[in-house]
């Protein structure tokens, strides 16, 4: 069946190409999103992948599976973005938060957008006291040690730890509100 569709696409039947797209785009979308964690980028990669498939339809080898084709075409686009995301300093927190929300929302697939997360994080940071914000930024974002930050701010380490803990708690609370709302509506 799939082979037949692929042959038709190779011959230039655009309707078959649409059938093919409708079969595969939801799965490819989920997979790409789970790696790049951004809706916008996922959409771009998906679009690019199918356009490439259509424009290079003449060179399709109908013996190969469509699954491998889609992977091969999308892979190099995904890889670049994956490497960038996986090294992102905020990714760890994003995953923590997402996993919490995943459990509470009981969704099998996570659709929290990393870009949204960063945006909401900045927004949530406004709810922090200046001291909390400073401690959070220095430790979590600039990767300084608690001892260094405590010394720099002239407080003892335990106070710094407390500030950080309250800051994270506040942010989690804020983010959960934003993002669960976000999940409900989008």
């Amino acid at each position: 069946m799939e082979k037949k569709i692929l042959q038709e696409v190779k011959r230039g039947t655009y309707n078959s190409f649409i059938v093919l797209y409708k079969n595969w785009s939801p799965r490819l979308y989920s997979f790409i999103f789970s790696l790049v964690k951004s809706k916008e980028i996922t959409q771009d990669i998906l679009q690019e992948t199918f356009v490439t498939l259509w424009t290079h339809r003449a060179s399709i080898d109908t013996e190969r599976s469509l699954k491998s084709y889609l992977f091969t075409i999308s892979y190099h686009l995904v890889l670049k973005e994956f490497k960038y995301k996986v090294c992102h300093p905020r990714m760890s927190e994003y995953i923590e938060l997402s996993s919490e929300l995943n459990l509470s929302e009981n969704t099998t697939d996570n659709k929290i957008d990393f870009d949204d997360f960063l945006e909401k994080l900045e927004y949530a940071k406004k709810k922090l006291t200046p001291k909390q914000k400073e401690v959070f930024t220095l430790i979590k974002e600039c990767n300084y040690s608690v001892a260094y930050v405590a010394n720099k701010l002239g407080v003892n380490e335990q106070t710094a730890r407390n500030h950080l803990a309250t800051a994270i708690k506040t942010l989690r609370k804020e983010l959960r509100e934003y993002l669960s709302l976000f999940l409900l509506f989008f």
């Binding site: 939801p26 799965r27 760890s92």
Partner: protein, 334 residues
């Protein structure tokens, strides 16, 4: 590094269930791997993902992407809308073209009207006193105008006929065109030709109209009763006397008549009266005779000079008269 372990971590990363410690481990491993190795892990993950077939529903977002794909591959709804708008543009263009043509038609109509009007416009070429002019008419005929002459023709010359109005003296070299005769109208005679060369002299101040034919043939008729048409042959001359209204043909050496064209005046025992009047006309002077006895003298000779003084000095040697030039008038006394 255990491949299974990495696959496990990749899967956890994908599902956002990776804990911070595992994430740190995953990050280090990913950074150690080459793109090719990474591709392998991704491929395994992809195969597993597909076989587990946790398929999402086809949703709005997928339609949006499909629309973008359609646009980029040239199959989109956008494309159709573009075609519709294209059609729309064609309609606008068509109506614009109609207006354009309408405007053009009106413009051309007005143009033609003004053209017809302007066709009735008269073009006239004048040669002033002592001047000469050469006119090439639209049909290629050439008219040389002697001093104090005027050639007038309508702008539609050559359209229906070839007709000119003439005053003074002119040397006509008419282009041959049997279909359209060339007509020269003067105040007293009408000259009808098809293609000839002739000289016509019809000054208002002269009592005679002279038409000397050089080549071809000419039909000449007086404009007063009887309007008889005479045929003139080369080396003949038609003379019309305005006072008596008589038109007669005589043989003539036309060198005398066409001398002015060549800037050379030739006389064969010509009465001095004629000689002086010709000289005066050629150089653009009026001549006043104070001694009428001179009129009976005849002169044979040739003047080949641009200067009136040279001509007059030769004549004074012959006839022993004195002359004075004041403004445009030459006074001759004994």
């Amino acid at each position: 590094m255990n491949k299974q372990r990495l696959s496990f971590l990749l899967n956890k990363y994908r599902l956002n269930t990776i804990c911070p410690e595992e994430y740190a481990e995953f990050l280090t491993q990913v950074n150690l791997l080459s793109d090719k190795e990474l591709k392998e892990f991704f491929n395994i993950e992809w195969d597993q993902f597909i076989s587990s077939s946790s398929s999402d529903l086809y949703g709005e977002v997928h339609d949006e992407i499909l629309m973008s794909i359609n646009n980029r591959t040239g199959h989109g709804f956008e494309k159709k809308r573009f075609m519709f708008s294209n059609n729309y543009i064609i309609r606008i263009a068509a109506s614009l073209v109609i207006f354009l043509f309408l405007g053009l038609a009106v413009n051309m109509y007005i143009d033609k009207k003004t053209l017809c009007f302007s066709l009735k416009n008269e073009i006239s070429v004048n040669a002033g006193k002592g001047e000469k002019a050469t006119v090439t008419l639209p049909d290629g005929s050439v008219v040389k105008l002697n001093s104090e002459s005027q050639l007038t023709y309508q702008q539609n010359f050559g359209l229906d006929n070839r007709q000119v109005f003439f005053l003074g003296e002119g040397y006509f070299k008419v282009k041959k065109n049997p279909k359209k005769e060339f007509i020269v109208m003067t105040k007293s005679v009408k000259v009808r030709v098809t293609g000839t060369t002739f000289n016509l002299s019809c000054y208002d101040r002269c009592d005679q109209v002279q038409m000397a034919l050089i080549e071809g043939s000419v039909m000449i008729s007086a404009l007063q009763f009887p309007e008889k048409e005479y045929k003139v042959s080369p080396n003949q001359k038609a003379i019309f006397d305005k006072k008596s209204g008589v038109l007669h043909i005589e043989n003539s050496l036309n060198e005398f008549d066409t001398a002015w064209v060549k800037t050379k005046l030739t006389f064969h025992s010509e009465p001095l009266k004629n000689v002086l009047s010709l000289v005066g006309r050629k150089y653009g002077f009026s001549i006043k005779l104070e001694d009428y006895t001179l009129l009976n003298e005849r002169y044979t000779g040739c003047f080949d000079s641009e200067n009136i003084d040279d001509v007059l000095s030769i004549l004074t040697k012959h006839f022993k008269f004195k002359y004075q030039i004041r403004k445009n008038t030459i006074f001759i006394s004994n």
